[in-house]
Amino acid sequence: MRIEISHKFVLGFVVVVGSIVFLDYLVPVLGFIPQSMQQFVSTLGALLVGLVFGWIFSKAFTSNIGILTTGAERLSHGDLSRTLKLRKGLVSDETEDLADSLNLVVDNLRKVVGKIRTTSVRVNESSQGLSASAEEMTATSHEVAGAIEQISRGAETQAEMVEKVSRVIRDLAGSIEQITASSQILALSSAETTKTAKDGGQLTDTALEKMKLVLSDVEGNSRQMVSFSEHVQKIGTIIDVITGIAQKTNLLALNATIEAARAGEYGQGFAVVAEEISKLADSTSASAGEITRLIDTTRDESLRVHQSMLDSVRAIDAGRGAIDSTSGVFRAIIEKAEDAQGKAHKITALTEQQNKNATEIVAAIEEISRVAEDNAAGTEQVSAATEEQSAAMEELTYASQKLAQLADELLTTVSRFNLGSDAEAPA
C-alpha cells in the first residue's frame, strides 16, 4: 500500500487527534480508573500514542533518507558497484521512488561507462592496428614507389630497346628486300645456267661424234704408218744387200789393184780400171750409207709418228671418257641449275613473305613503342599517386596514433567509475 509522505503526516495527525478523542471516550467506559484520574490517563494515553507514532514515523523516514544520502555520496565518488536497497516498510512512499530513480541512474551510468570503456579499448586497439596497418601501408607504398621507379627506368630501357629493335628490324627489312632482289637475279642466272648447260651438253655430244671420227682417222693413219714402216724396213734390207755388194766390189777392186801392182808394168791399165771400180764402189757405198741414214731417220720419225699416234689414240680415248664425264657433268649441272631455279623461286616467295612479316613487325614494334611510352607516362602518374598515397598514409599513421592517445585518455577518464567485478572485464 502506498501512502505519500504528506499524506502520512496528515494521517499521523489524524491518528494522534483521533486517539486523544477516542481515549476521552474510552477511559470513562473502562470504569476502574477513578474519576480524578480519568483526565490524566486519557492525556497520557494521547501523548503516548503521539510519541509512538512520531518515533516510528521519523525512524522510518530518516533511515530511508540516510540510505539515499549514502547512495548519492557513493555515486558522486563514481562508485557504481552497488544498488540502493531501502528497508521495506508497510507502506511505500517517495523515498522508494527516489531510490528506484537513483538505481536507474546508476544502472544507466554503469551501462554507459562500460560501453565507453569497452569502446575506448576497442578504439585503442583498432587505432593501434590502424597505425600498424598504416605504417605497413606506408612501407608498402614506399616499396611500391621504388618498384614504380624501377618500372619507370625499365620503361625507359624498354623504350630504348624498342627503338633499337625497330632500327634492327628496319635494317632487316632492307636486307630482306636485297635478298629478294638477289634471289630474283639468282633465279634468272640459274635459268641462264640451265640453258647454257643444255647448249654445253649438245656441244659435248657433237664433240664426242667428231672425236670418234678423228679416232677412226687416226687409227687408219696408224695402220698406214705401220705399212709404211714395213716398206722402209724392206728398203733397208735391200740397201744392206747393196752395201754388202759395194764392200765386196771394193775388196775385189783392192785385190785387183794388188794384182796389178804385182804384175808391174803390165798391170798399170788394169790398176786404173780397178781404181775406177773402187771409186764406184766407194760412191755406191757412200750412197747406200746415205740411204741407210735416211732410212734410219725415217724409221725413227715413223716410230715417233706411230708413238704419237698411239698417244693420240690414248688421249682421244681419255678425251672421249672426259667428254662422257663432261656430258654427265652438264646433265648434273642442268639438274642442279633447275633445282637452284626452283629454290630461288621459293626463296623469292619466302623473302616476299618475310618482307611482309618484317613490315608487320615494324608496325607492331611501333605499337609496342607507343605502348611503352604510354607505360612510361602511366608509371609517372602512378609514381606521383604513390607519393601522394605515401603522404596520406603518414598522415593516417599520425591520426591513428592521435586517436589511440585519445582513446587512452578516455579510458583513463572513465576508469574513475567503479563498476564492480561483473563489469570490470567488458568484452
Binding site: 765386196k248 785385190n255 789393184t257 794388188i258 804385182r262 781404181e275 773402187s278
Partner: protein
C-alpha cells in the same frame, strides 16, 4: 811411185807395200790352231793353202784386233802369213824417195821407215822384224 796399203793399229797408222801383199780376204772361215801363242788367231784357207792368222796389234803391244773377217794375206815369198789389223784404208801412191828410214839401233820396233803423206805420218811395217818376233814366240 810406190803403192801402199795403209791400215790402223789403235791410233797409229801403218802401211805395207802392195807388192808384199798377195790379197785381202773377206769372210774366210777362221780355224783354231791348238798350242799356239795368243797372237795366233787361227788359220784360214786361201785357195787351198793353209795360212796362219796373226793378231798384229796384239803382237805389237796394241789392243787386240776386232773380230773381223778381213785379213791381209802376205806374199808367200816374204811371209806365209795373214795379218789381222784394226782398220783397212784406201790404197795410196807415195814417192819412197821421201821415206825417212829408221835408225838400225832399235831393231825391235818393226818400223822400216816413216812416210809423210797429207800431213799424216804413216809407219812402214818392217815384215822382216815381224817374222823374227813370230819365230821368237814360236820357239
Amino acid at each position: 811411185m810406190t803403192q801402199l796399203l795403209p791400215f790402223t793399229l789403235g791410233a797409229e797408222r801403218y802401211a805395207l807395200k802392195l807388192t808384199s801383199i798377195q790379197e785381202v780376204v773377206d769372210g774366210a772361215q777362221l780355224h783354231y790352231l791348238p798350242v799356239t801363242p795368243a797372237t795366233f788367231l787361227g788359220a784360214i784357207n786361201v785357195h787351198g793353202q793353209v795360212v796362219p792368222v796373226v793378231d798384229l796389234p796384239l803382237l805389237l803391244g796394241f789392243d787386240p784386233a776386232p773380230v773381223c773377217q778381213r785379213f791381209l794375206v802376205l806374199s808367200p815369198q816374204i811371209l806365209s802369213l795373214a795379218l789381222a789389223v784394226h782398220q783397212l784404208e784406201s790404197v795410196i801412191n807415195v814417192d819412197l824417195q821421201h821415206l825417212a828410214l829408221m835408225q838400225s839401233d832399235e831393231p825391235q820396233n818393226c818400223i822400216a821407215g816413216v812416210v809423210h803423206w797429207h800431213e799424216k805420218m804413216i809407219n812402214l811395217l818392217d815384215l822382216e822384224q815381224v817374222g823374227h818376233i813370230i819365230e821368237t814366240q814360236l820357239k
